[in-house]
């Protein structure tokens, strides 16, 4: 069975589902027998889920609308001045 260090070395690709079938089987065998790595894997998956579902860093619509209005007013004013 692979060691925790070997598991960790492949962990990034494993999370991305980018390991070969053979490596995947080794990783899964390791997970079935190592509590620490199982916690790491489970909490990493949950972290990913929280981030992707969180709709983080969205500029509120009123703020976004006001910003676009300011930008376009500035550009249209410049365009009028150059005519």
């Amino acid at each position: 069975m692979i060691t925790c260090d070997e598991f960790f070395a492949e962990f990034g690709d494993y999370l991305e589902n980018q390991v070969s079938g053979e490596v995947r089987r080794e990783m899964e065998l390791h997970l079935s027998q190592c509590r620490t790595c199982t916690v790491l894997f489970d909490s990493s998956c949950k972290t990913l889920r929280l981030v992707t579902d969180s709709c983080s860093f969205e500029l509120p619509q009123p703020v976004s609308d006001a910003l676009v209005d300011r930008i376009m007013a500035s550009l249209r004013s410049d365009a009028r001045d150059t005519r």
Binding site: F8, F11, G12, D13, L15, E16, T36, V39, L40, D42, S43, S44, K46, T47, L48, R49, L50, V51, T52, D53, S54, C55, S56, F57, E58, L59, V63, S64, L67, V68, R70, I71, M72, S74, L75, R76, A79
Partner: protein, 474 residues
Amino acid sequence: MSLRATGLTDETILEVAVTAAIGVYRGTISAALRVEPEFPLRHAARSRCALPQNEGQISRDATSWLHTQNGPYLPSPFLSSESFSPFAALYQTHGFIPNFFRSQSLRPDLIEAEIDAVGNTLQPQDILTRVQKEAILLAVSAVNLNSYCVAVHSNMLRGMGVPAEEADQIAVDHHFSALSDADKALVDCAIKLGARHAEFSPQDLDELRTRNFTEEQILESIAVVALNNFSNFLQMGLGFEPDFEVPAAFQQAIVKPFRPSGTPMAGESSISTLVTAIADPDAELLAQVQAGDLDAFEILVRRNTQSVFRALIAILGNTDEAQDAMQDVFLSAFKHIARFEGRSKVSTWLSAIARNAAFQLIRKRKDTESLDSADSSEDGDFRPRQVQAWQDDPEQSYSKAQVRKLVEKGILQLSPTYRAVLMLRDIEQLSTDEAARRLGLSVPAVKTRLFRGRLMLREWLSPYFSKGPGGAEL
């Protein structure tokens, strides 16, 4: 690469590839112009020059290995656009660093020379137009089965307002495209010269003369074909990946060989799939803006507000500062949009402007960390310490707004090195390739930073979502 086994360094191998590509460049020019050698050819060399009729062609069998070998074949040390000015200029016009140049970063001097050569050959429009040149580059690359260059030049044509279907048709069989008869003859000649030079003869140039092409135009078309073959062969030698997502189906694509009379593009051609996959939804708007349409720019701004906001936060780490910087980003984009060549998606280009603006703000506040920070910092040894099991449904512990706040706080405490990658991959949901393109990083660097960033965020969130007592307070 067996050259390595002979003891050659990567720098030498790069030079071999570039030298061979220059040989193809010069060979193409001399084949077209029938340049007489300055010195008599020695007998031994004559036999090698007497190529079989089809040796100048690239058959599908001969290139089949290209579809199974993953490149790039040489390492590409990171070159910062902050210290290497040609890359900064590429960012301005492309919004990313094309793999064509990035893959040669062992030799920055070569990159500079090639950027000059490409610019001097392709940018002037007083002899052949840029669309004529791009049509030549696309058609010859397609016959040479070079997916990298097909992707580049399809994208270029669309950026110049040529409809995607038309670019498709030029790649598959230009005879059925909307090109004028004269331009079709120009591309016919280019394909013979660039991909089938055993079939090429001086009569092909006479044919162009009968179509009223001037001697200067004919010479320029030859130089464009030579430049194309330099690019095709360099890509083959270095194995760098396309800058745009190429569907897996294209790897098995059967590109219709050039023939004097063909049929319109068949439905099964995967070139059309390729072009659709890399199409920019903002390309039409871009053309309208470049024609002076302010309303089109407003739509472009509304479409890209959120991604620009996130690109700014990723570097600045501060939502208020990001909001303040947005107006300047879009005004700067408008100022430079006439020069934008459409080699990347508009959204990628806008993100690049946002990042540059953010870096300038960071420099002003003397916070010197940037995305270019090496991975060899102490973060490189980051190992998780929190190994307490998490709750089964961590989302249930807090309201949606609280979870969002926690996630944002956790991401903001990451350094820009990791924050930028994590935001593009896990919030914007971009592919690894697209994230690499936007950040000017290699794919392996993106993967490494994403993994570490996720682990660091997991570490930070763990006290809030672990099982049992003693959890952190909001």
